[in-house]
Symmetry: C2
């Protein structure tokens, strides 16, 4: 998928919502545990009831990988289901990989070619030769961790290097990498005012924004400080949507929560 197509989907659906699939077997409705593949059954139900309200899905690979071979099978089924039934949705493998040269190339092939994800999240710590292998694939994106929404973000990301916080150095340095037009960035909503500075460095890049809602960020502020003329935002919600109910009505409850966010987004997009 191209960035232009993603922007078109956002305008069409009046939504820049990304639904995070952090599928925890201890949190999904107990009746699903009787299914042959509970993780996929849960993912499928969530996807089927929310697809018209969001433009992206983000399976968190850790939750799948935690179950070894079985988990990988569930992840494969989930991305195959998305690609087959909802090809207009942007898909994000939230894997937070980061390794050198040939290893990065392996990961890029696994996520982009074998699984056919549109994008994968990447850690910046190892620098250029850990990121560039992910940027060699046409219409595929690497989403780099810049400023995350957790408490530990203040350990290193906000510390100053050459008069700029590390996360801004990450934006500045990586936007000089080869094929950097295929980079997007993770920027936590808990510090929405930071988005102003971020937009000065990467005016055109899409930003994947976690931390709205549960972690305290305001959607209105994220839009105010973070949107560009192509919108340029994907706001992620995981637990707030997918665990809205742990009863048999979980899918409808997830839809209601997603709709609440989509309605708010539609209002912001009209401004």
């Amino acid at each position: 998928m191209t960035q232009k197509e993603l922007s078109q989907q956002i305008k069409l659906k009046k939504s820049f919502l990304c639904v995070g699939l952090d599928i925890d077997l201890e949190k999904i409705p107990p009746h699903l545990l009787q299914e042959e593949d509970p993780m996929f059954a849960f993912a499928k139900a969530i996807i089927d009831t929310t697809h018209d309200l969001c433009v992206a899905y983000k399976p968190n690979t850790a939750f799948f990988e935690a179950y070894g071979v079985k988990g990988w099978q569930s992840l494969e089924k989930t991305i195959q289901y998305l690609n087959k039934n909802y090809p207009d949705h942007f898909t994000i493998a939230d894997a937070k990989r980061g390794d050198i040269g040939n290893t990065s190339t392996r990961y890029a092939k696994a996520f982009f070619e074998d699984l056919n994800f549109d994008s994968v999240t990447i850690a910046p710590y190892m620098g250029k030769d850990s990121v560039e292998p992910f940027l060699e694939f046409e219409d595929k994106f690497a989403i780099l961790l810049a400023l995350t929404s957790n408490a530990g973000a203040f350990d290193f990301q906000t510390k100053t290097i050459d008069r700029l916080p590390l996360y801004q150095q990450v934006l500045k340095t990586t936007s000089q990498y080869k094929n950097s037009e295929r980079l997007m960035y993770v920027v936590g909503a808990t510090k929405a005012e930071y988005l102003q500075d971020i937009r000065k460095i990467v005016p055109d890049s899409f930003l994947l924004v976690p931390g709205v809602g549960a972690q305290g960020g305001s959607l209105e502020e994220v839009y105010k400080y973070g949107a560009n003329d192509q919108v340029g935002l994907l706001v992620n919600s995981s637990r707030g949507i997918i665990y809205a109910s742990q009863q048999e009505d979980f899918a409808e409850a997830a839809r209601a929560k997603a709709m609440q966010m989509q309605v708010e987004m539609a209002t912001l997009l009209r401004l």
Copy 2:
């Protein structure tokens, strides 16, 4: 395994060698591709011929994950084989994970409990709450990326924050984390003289050192600047050992290369 047991193994075998299992189907001897599970067949042969010369094995999970479900099966078989046949070897899942709270906990359980690895490599970018979940498991270790041996290491790791390079800030900050005695650090051999400064910050931690040989680092210098009174070093070699030959004699060739390193290590340990 405890750090003390690891040190004992090093003294017993006169070796601080870690063999990296970066198993690339395009590089292993072609005759193995006829095996039912070529990755495991290769790993098993390398392990069986090198085990008495090394104290640790480090499967690089990317190479397995690149093959999806099949790759995970090969990884599971490899670690099960190690745990069953060579329980005195320290095992490292080179996964370079790094995510927040509940996701990190998932990964920690997957690698430490389900697969029973002794350790897993971790990226520091997300800070405290991405690292501490890995430190809650007794006799298990998180090996944090500090200073890697690739060219991109100079993009961020060596940049100065509060008068110290970022990688030293990582050492300093993380050594204050809860259960930090379960931390080890990746420090590339290509900058062996840096090890002096590193030892001032983490005198007692084990260091996992890649980049000797192929990437230009000197074993002698690594030992000179990096060893502590428990040795405290694991020097990794991957390609230099496992791809010593791509013919039918690959396992013997790998043994010869491993022995070359072990002999050099034995000499250093006598000093």
